[in-house]
């Protein structure tokens, strides 16, 4: 494997992706909305909103570990904001690596076919392995890096808005760290594998998005479930979920690597 070739493709694909508003806008706006604007609003809410307006937070407390309960504030408004940002909404940080790896993989593979540049790429001396490695890295690395940045921003916003009133930094908790550095990247890798497989068979980026959109559903279910107070994932549950995602990622990425090869792509050229 010649890494100079791989890096040339990664550089080119990222330049191409950055040249598309359809990719850049969601990549910037969604993390900003979910990981900065939303937690800022929730974090500032106790200062400006009547506690009654926040609803009953008591039902959320039954989900929390016993050792946490003693550390929570008594003010209902502050309690609601702390529980929401520290526990319930933290799975939002999974959405960024999953969404970005989906968008970048669809653009880098199905988009390449749609723009008619795939044949030009296949006509270079890149080996099939170099091609697959470049395509997968182009999607996964930025997704994970931006996912980690997003998680850091979420933690920073939570600490800045609530930390002073609580007299301590609330994040990162152990669960948050596991989500950010293990569950997020593995979910991103699994999503990447699935969308890559779909993208190889798709003629357009839109097709790949539509079919690949299903991979976001488990994450959305997790976010909604925890956000609605239906479940609370423990550290071990998050480690386990990450392991399942890692296993799925290995299988899907191996299959995707096989699909990103001339014997599979060549006959699909128009």
């Amino acid at each position: 494997m010649r890494w100079s070739r791989v890096l040339a493709v990664v550089r080119r694909d990222l330049t191409v992706a950055l040249g598309s508003k359809a990719i850049v806008l969601p990549a910037v706006i969604v993390p900003l909305l979910l990981l900065v604007v939303l937690p800022t609003a929730i974090g500032l809410a106790p200062r400006y909103v009547d506690a009654d307006a926040l609803g009953d937070v008591e039902q959320l407390l039954v989900l929390l570990p016993a050792e946490v309960l003693g550390t929570l504030p008594e003010d209902p408004a502050l309690l609601g904001a702390v529980v929401t940002l520290t526990y319930l909404l933290t799975p939002l940080i999974l959405l960024v690596p999953v969404m970005l790896s989906t968008v970048l993989a669809a653009d880098g593979i199905a988009g390449e076919q749609e723009r008619g540049t795939l044949e030009g790429l296949l006509l270079t001396p890149l080996s099939d392995r170099e091609l697959a490695t470049a395509k997968l890295l182009t999607a996964w690395v930025p997704a994970v890096v931006i996912g980690l940045l997003g998680a850091a921003l979420y933690a920073m916003v939570t600490n800045l808005t609530l930390g002073r009133q609580m007299g301590e930094w609330l994040l990162p908790t152990t669960e948050f760290m596991v989500l950010a550095v293990w569950t997020g990247p593995t979910f991103g890798a699994a999503a990447l594998g699935a969308v890559s497989l779909v993208s190889v068979r798709s003629r357009t980026t839109q097709d790949a998005f539509q079919l690949g959109g299903f991979v976001v559903l488990p994450v959305v279910a997790m976010v909604v479930g925890q956000g609605a107070g239906l479940l609370l994932l423990s550290v071990w549950a998050l480690v386990g979920a990450g392991m399942v995602a890692a296993g799925a990622a290995v299988l899907l990425l191996v299959a995707a690597t096989r699909s990103l090869s001339r014997p599979r792509l060549g006959p699909r050229l128009g």
Partner: protein, 318 residues
């Protein structure tokens, strides 16, 4: 005789589902040759190029480029090839310069060499002023010129050009053909041009191979093909007064009916090279003055159409 083959297909068959794109095709291209692959859409030209570049594998038969199997030694083969597909291969979201820089990097060119060469090609193709604009704003012709610049950037030993002027306006097409003619004149460079443009093939190619339904149906230089498949008409300039009489004399000697043309000329077809002196003798013996006997050379287009049965062959003509 073909020089040592750098490109070789031996009994190659390639199917796509039930469609047979190449059917037991055998061809060789020697080092330094300029060969045209002619054929209708679906004749197998693009499949041939993709097999040579290792984008496809054959279902049967042997494909070799410089002795290497493009499927097994794909990277080494493609390092030697410059392939221009029918569609522009440059990315709309990159600038002209970025497209060339990517090609240089992936082909392993030294950055300073690549930069100089890119500037030279951009200038040669009239793209220098727009080199830093995104290709999305280029016309189809400009994109195709940039694609050709990208292919030539790495100075490949073998050029495979699939419809290189199909998307170009006549001026740009002429410019590209001139560039290709210069490239083709280099004895160490092998060029295969797939084209519908028979004038282009005639201008560029030492040899043409005519494909139909995935098979080679004719092969040779344009002159050889003409001689073999459409020898052309023989015109006798006998003067207006004697043209009718000459036609009567010739009608007894040749299989097809002679035609009396304007300017005192009579035309016959289906006459071989060795038969001409005998016809002249008969005409002179019949008191027909033969001022000139000229054989018209058919264009490659006429030969091509005759091969595909689109126009009647000489013998079938009324």
């Amino acid at each position: 005789m073909t020089p040592a083959p750098v490109l070789r297909l031996d009994g190659v068959t390639r199917r796509f589902g039930r469609v047979v794109a190449l059917d037991d095709l055998t061809l060789e291209v020697g080092t330094g040759e300029v060969v045209g692959l002619l054929g209708h859409n679906g004749a197998g030209k693009t499949t041939t190029v993709r097999l040579l570049a290792g984008l496809l594998g054959p279902d049967a038969g042997l494909v070799r480029v410089g002795g290497l199997d493009p499927v097994v030694d794909g990277a080494a083969v493609r390092q030697r090839l410059g392939v221009l597909p029918a569609r522009p291969i440059v990315d709309d979201r990159l600038t002209g310069t970025q497209n060339l820089a990517f090609a240089a990097a992936v082909f392993g060119m030294a950055p300073d060499v690549a930069r100089d060469r890119a500037e030279e090609l951009l200038a040669a193709f009239g793209l220098a002023a727009r080199a830093d604009e995104r290709v999305g704003g280029y016309s189809t012709g400009l994109r195709q010129r940039l694609s050709l610049a990208r292919v030539l950037l790495t100075e490949p030993e073998v050029l495979l050009l699939d419809e290189p002027t199909a998307a170009l306006d006549p001026v740009a097409a002429r410019q590209v053909i001139s560039t290709l003619a210069v490239l083709a004149s280099r004895s160490d460079r092998t060029v295969v041009v797939c084209t519908h443009d028979l004038a282009e093939a005639e201008a560029l190619c030492d040899r043409v191979i005519v494909l139909a339904n995935g098979r080679s149906i004719a092969e040779g230089s344009p002159a050889e093909l003409a001689a073999a498949h459409r020898p052309g008409e023989l015109h006798f300039d006998v003067g207006a007064a004697q043209a009718g009489h000459a036609a009567e004399v010739l009608a007894r000697l040749v299989s097809g009916a002679p035609r009396v043309l304007a300017g005192g000329r009579v035309s016959v077809t289906g006459v071989g090279h060795d038969e001409v002196p005998q016809l002249v003798r008969h005409l002179v013996a019949a008191d027909v003055p033969v001022h000139e006997a000229v054989r018209s050379r058919p264009s490659l287009e006429e030969v091509y159409l005759a091969l595909h049965g689109a126009i009647p062959s000489e013998g079938e003509r009324p």
